[in-house]
């Protein structure tokens, strides 16, 4: 298992989802990806994308204007 980060700040939906999708596609099952966004809609969309594609959202939180989402990559 490895830890990765993704900077998806200053991009509007659906770009944070697309960036997350493309990064996750490069990772192995069990890897952890931490995505930082500034579009608050990512709090809904990235978890939705994870649910339908078999990945787990470990944690979501907000720091000021930033949204941080930690994802455990599934084996789907």
């Amino acid at each position: 298992m490895s830890e990765y980060t993704l900077d998806a700040r200053n991009s509007l939906c659906p770009m944070p989802v697309i960036k997350t999708q493309n990064k996750v596609n490069e990772l192995e099952a069990g890897d952890i990806l931490t995505v930082t966004c500034t579009d608050p809609g990512a709090l809904n969309d990235i978890p939705a994308w994870c649910r339908i594609n078999g990945h787990e959202v470990v944690e979501t939180c907000e720091h000021g204007s930033e949204v941080i989402i930690r994802i455990r990559v599934g084996d789907a």
Binding site: L12, G41, N44, D45, A48
Partner: protein, 347 residues
Amino acid sequence: MSKPRKAVALISGGLDSLLAAKLMLEQGIHVEGINFYTGFCVEGHTHAIRKKDKAKPKRNNALWSAEQLGIKLHILDIIEEYKDVVINPKHGYGANMNPCLDCKIFMISKAKQWMEENGFDFIITGEVVGQRPMSQRKDLLPVVVRESGIDDLLLRPLCAKNLAPTLPEREGWVDREKLLDFSGRNRKPQMALAKQFGFDDYATPAGGCCFLTDESYSKKLVDLWQARNKKEYELDDIMLLKVGRHIRPAPHYKLIVSREDGENKFLNGYRKQFSTIEIKSHNGPLTLVDGELSDDDFKQAARIAARFSQGRDADSVNVLITPLDGEAYSLDIAPMPASEIKQEWYV
């Protein structure tokens, strides 16, 4: 046992593509969705930049559709490739800058490529014959099939009975008798089918799902091309056309004046790419300035920006001007009276 067939569904986030995919799932077909992001897509989040729209749910309707269906969704970034569709549409534009027929051909050809790369058997769409004036006219549907190269691997479940059987129907992968014969602009059959499947809260975007069908947006895009004297754009250009008041007091420069706090925050992210004007003595908008301006131009621009601040009726307003490649400086100016702001300046 026969091989399970796999269909790739073009999921826009609207009701028709949701129903088309559901009809295939009901027939036991393995369905996965693809959704294309062109940069011109009307997204809830883009609207949500503006504070007045914050009560609307922030959701991506294509993801919502996929979740309702229980299928995977692949969102494809086609921003770069799509430029040629917008700039050089072989079949021309619709009522505004919408190249709907070229767009449909392009998307079907991209879906075909994805289908082949991922081992899928055919494509489905939520198209309904006669529903849209350009891309879904019965005489133009064969043009989409021919020019996309998809041949008879494109199935339109909602109106299939109005069309010749496709390969999935002829081969018995899907039961044609269970497909539908919708046609025209009447939405009641789709709404009844949605109710039958238990779908509610589906997206009903007024004015379509693409900014290029919007008259005001299209005018701003044409203005951008005229000002640059060439038809080209980057993603930031077309995002900014969705935000703020666009005012062109002279051919060589344009102001983007935020309308409220949400837009202020969004435009703030572009400080490093544009000259800016901030109102310091009163509450007021952040203004991005696109173009190369003289000192007098900046003074005029600041007077216009001040017009949209709470100091609009004051004798003097203090502004901070930050040229893109220069030092910021403070200026006291008189806000421009509304009567001096010409209507033709508004893009």
